[in-house]
Amino acid sequence: MWLRNAVRNWRSRRRTDAELDEEVRGYVEMLAQEKVRAGVDSKAARREAKMELGGVEQVKQQTREVRAGHFLETLWQDIRYGVRMLQKNPGFTLVAVITLALGIGANTAIFSVINSLMFKPLPVKAPQELVDVYNTPPKDEAVLQYIPLAYPDLEDYWSQSKLLSGFLGYAPAPVALERAGDSEMVPAEEVTGNYFHELGVRMRLGNGFNEAQDRVTGTDAEAILSYAMWQGQFASDPNIIGKTITLNGHPMTVAGVAPWDFHGLLRGVAPKLWIPISMDSVLHLGNPVKDRGSQWLFSMARLKPGVSVKQAQAELQAIAERLIKAYPDSNKERNVALLPASQVKIIPEADKVVSATSVVLLGFAGLILLIACANIAGMLMARATERRREIAIRSALGGGRFRLVRQLLTENLLLSVLGGGAALVITSLLDNALSQALMNLNTSLPVGFGLTIDIDWRVLAFAAMAVLGTTFLFGLIPSLNTSKRGLTEALKEEAGATTGSRGKHRLLNALVVGQLTISLTLLICAGLSLRSLWNASRVNPGFDPSDMATASFNLSLAGYDAPKASAFYERLTPRILALPGVTSASEADRLPLTFIDQISGYAPGGPTQPKTPITTATVNTDYFKTMRIPILRGRAFDDRDNPKSPPVLIVNETLAKRFWPRQDAIGKVVSHAGKNYQVVGVTANGKYITLGESPRPFVYLSMRQAEIPDRILIARTMGNPTAALTSIRQIAKEIDPNIPLTNLETVQQATSVSLLLPRAGGAVFGLFGLLGLILASMGLYGVIAYTVAQRTHEIGVRMALGANPRQIAQLVMRRGLVMILSGIVLGLACAFALTRVLSIMLYGVSATDPLTFAVVVIALMLVGALACYVPARRAMRVDPMVALRYE
């Protein structure tokens, strides 16, 4: 009914309008005739009739408003009118749309990243049925809250459970891919054979793993390529299935290519290859598959329909308790923790950091949007003055206040939608660039990165919310302000002759001060991040990373056992040392500052003492000399240390002070892994995992006493270390052409990964600060320029009365400077309160660093002064004659 009327009204709107006109006019005439009959003369009768009616147009408008479809009809009118207004002021439209695009774009871009990391469900079948299965560690060894499973435990859970319909495990495990005589470390995952089938991930190419062969050790030499790997290393070869690739020296058949959007189950971490766990004992040394002591498999289970997480938790806990009884040594206090897969984004420990960072980033992006809103609100209020007469005429013709506000809001919404559209374009470009950059991010970390960042319905919904919220924020105050002005007052005013009401100026000033406040806060955050980056790149890491070459040898991947590997290094390192330009060389199990953390328990005194988890590295003789790590007391490792001599270790200063305060550490006994070690040396403190860490205790074990097949070689050179890199490769290949040799680079390159966080922080906040500064100075300029335009008449009068241009410029500048100063005072207060949030990301700079604060304040003052100076100059050039005639 309503719809039919609406359509009918729409189609016959002209005729209906004409009829309404005739009807209302007819009413007036009949009323007048009535009065004539009552004896009033015809002219007076007409006037009285009109007055009684109260305005033909108003009555018509009131009648139109009750008609069906009136809302749609006027909405259409509003939109058409809005488009016309925007076309009429292309300059204003362009600036507003760009401002909004930047403001909304900053938010949608950041949200799209957070969305793909936190909100998007995994691209798997029925993700709501999946749960993450973890073990919880015994209380006294609790370094992590949740730990992965051992393979035998996983098998027991799966085979004894009745409430689960599937159970899968996976573990990051880098492998060496050999191609054309070269080997390359590739981040891979070892997975149970049912992994893809259970997740419902359909191969892009091929059939996937042959599940029939699963669990028969070493029989299914198959690998599945990630889409990125297939596209990159294998040039999208359509005939890749069935071809053989060489991993860790073993031929493996390509059984499938994963779909493009599947990056594994740890979000942000993307393996390039998947290989079956059953191949583990072939590809790697040792056999953790059989070992209940090795907890290395991330696990996921699928609940049967109708089973709750709680029920499954209880069932698995019962199984875990049986295992604790059956294997008291390995499974001591090993309990089960189930978490819905949707709640775990990466791993529970990392998730907290990710969500905290997300909140901080979105908060800052929100501030940018607020500045943008204030900008446009200011522009609209300035423009509203020019439109005052137009609005007045419209309300005189029967436009209700609500209708007028709606018209203005529609115009604003048009602006926002245009801005939002542009923001989505920006976001989509950024997303693509970021996805690519993540995929190609080359770090010396054993994991790869990959994330499908794109615009899905969540991002669209977020953008829509941003558009609506923005429209409301920047549009409502100016709209109300415009439409509430009295009719007669507005009609009487001559455009340009007045300086606008005081209240409005106060509001404009408040907007600009607010912008400056936010912008100063953002700039201070940017300044702090940049200083932190600067400090981090100059911090003394406790060793000298310059002029050193390094290479990683993953001999275990080539099937070397420990004695064979030691023999290899005993041939390799002396030959490297003999190279011209190499002054010192050694090996270690890893480089510091590459984020890799290896923690074991150490107890001062004897094995009965409680253990403390401490970061450890195993290093060979000459390591300290090569790295230039000072030995403070005692000695470095040397030829006295071998597998048969008493175990020794070297500690750093922090550990020495912690274990034996006010005593000499040399000669003390430390218990570790069932053996007693004697402390033979104390080194200076250094940075071990990240540059930002506070001094942490550290233990060095001797490589001579703990033979490790996979080592990194370090060689100190005179002058440029890159020259040595080729020689290192050559020598290694001469000894054994089949060993996987990777990460051939300078130590400076290898440790630069530790600057990743401060760099990312510097980039993001630097960008935020810059955006904020640009927007806020645009706002300041806009308002000052508007005031000058408004006061042209007044300035003309002042000049005619003898004011010189300098005084005029001062007049204009003073107002701007007051706003800048208020913004700075408020901004400093906000910054003092807010920057504490950043302190976790800052290195070597306090959250209230006076230098940063001072520099930023001065920078903002300069930019602000410039934004005022340009319009002030214009004011100086006002020609009094022109200004006075302006009216």
Partner: protein
């Protein structure tokens, strides 16, 4: 404040218009005069409320309109009740009876 008043009166106004049209078809001014006359001037219907009400009721299907000649040979739009309008008048009258009775009792109590 003006809003609550019109809302209160809206149902009443509809009923008065329906009642006025119950006997014969009429144009706008006629309806307004008839209401004034039967309520002895208590209700004076302003065109600003009359026309919106007439148009709304026409869309509801209670009234139909046609153009005709007024007594002074002027083209005027005449409204008359439809069947649906007559039913509406009955139900409104009945509803009004209940309300006024209830209010009367409430005031007497």
């Amino acid at each position: 404040m003006g809003r609550s008043q019109t809302e209160l009166l809206q149902g009443t106004l509809d009923m008065l218009i329906l009642k006025a049209l119950a006997l014969e078809e009429m144009h706008g001014l006629g309806i307004s005069r008839r209401i004034e006359q039967v309520t002895k001037g208590t209700f004076q219907v302003k065109p600003g409320s009359l026309f919106p009400a007439l148009h709304r009721m026409e869309e509801e299907g209670w009234l139909e309109s046609s153009w005709g000649e007024s007594q002074n040979n002027r083209r005027a739009k005449y409204y008359r009740l439809t069947k649906k309008g007559r039913r509406q008048l009955e139900s409104e009258t009945e509803r009004w009876g209940r309300i006024s009775l209830a209010i009367e009792r409430a005031l007497e109590a």
